[in-house]
């Protein structure tokens, strides 16, 4: 399990390649399924052009909740490894914001666990986004919308 808050731009695919390489001795040949989700900054939101997003968090509580969520997933599904990376600070369009990855023997566990991690992260991990619009205004993103497809996965570990 690897949880990390990143203050700088990261390249999801490079990061995954390096992580898997570093774990090759223990992981290679053991897992059959990898499910990865990446959340990326778009250059528009609610009809407006967004130039920068400022990502704030609650240091300490963020790590604690990401850890908690990842442990819940490991208890509930048959998982070999999981990763949660999340950016804070200033994020620009096309930058990765979040990366979730799950390695498992079987695809159902990998798909379910990664979706669970994303849903719980979005509803419980203390991060907040403020958008700077191209016209110069700033505004807080008010809330995350739930993923209806994740409903059957959540609610038991609250």
């Amino acid at each position: 399990m690897h949880i990390e808050i990143l203050t700088d731009v990261f390249q999801p695919w490079q990061w995954l390649e390096q992580y898997e390489s570093a774990r090759r001795d223990v992981m290679a040949g053991q897992f059959g399924a990898t499910s990865v989700f990446i959340g990326t900054m778009r250059d528009f939101n609610e009809g407006d052009d967004v130039s920068v997003m400022h990502l704030e968090h609650y240091p300490g509580m963020t790590e604690k909740y990401l850890q908690k969520i990842a442990e819940e997933a490991e208890e509930r599904w048959d998982i070999q490894d999981s990763v949660i990376l999340h950016r804070v600070g200033d994020v620009r369009p096309a930058d990765a914001i979040v990366l979730v990855a799950v390695w498992s023997a079987h695809r159902a566990d990998a798909f379910d666990a990664s979706r669970y991690l994303m849903e719980e992260l979005k509803s419980r991990a203390p991060f907040w986004k403020k958008e700077s619009l191209l016209e110069g205004d700033e505004r807080w993103v008010e809330k995350n919308t739930p993923d209806p497809g994740a409903e059957r996965l959540i609610g038991t570990n609250k």
Binding site: G39, L55, E56, H57, Y58, G60, M61, K64, Y65, H86, I97, V98, M118, L121, K122, S123, R124, A125, P126, F127, W128, K129, K130, W140, V141, E142, K143, N144
Partner: protein, 77 residues
């Protein structure tokens, strides 16, 4: 007794402070801490509260040395 208070994101801007330290023997609950720290502002309906980095409800008890955080709905991911 001493209670550390934190405000995050839009709530920090609304309240006009990022953190505070309360010294008062009359603080029993999160509600009391909010009133003391904000000079009795109305609590936003959808506000989230954590005591020592664990989510709690507004009636939760607080004790000496606790860290109480108030923040709007989270928007990470």
């Amino acid at each position: 007794m001493t209670i550390a208070i934190k405000f995050f994101a839009s709530l920090r801007e609304t309240v006009g402070q990022a953190e505070n330290s309360l010294n008062s023997s009359s603080i029993m609950t999160v509600d009391d801490a909010w009133r003391e720290a904000t000079n009795s502002m109305d609590m936003p309906a959808n506000m989230l509260i954590a005591v020592n980095m664990e989510y709690v409800e507004r009636g939760a008890r607080v004790k000496d040395g606790d860290e109480v955080a108030f923040f709007p709905p989270v928007t990470g991911g």
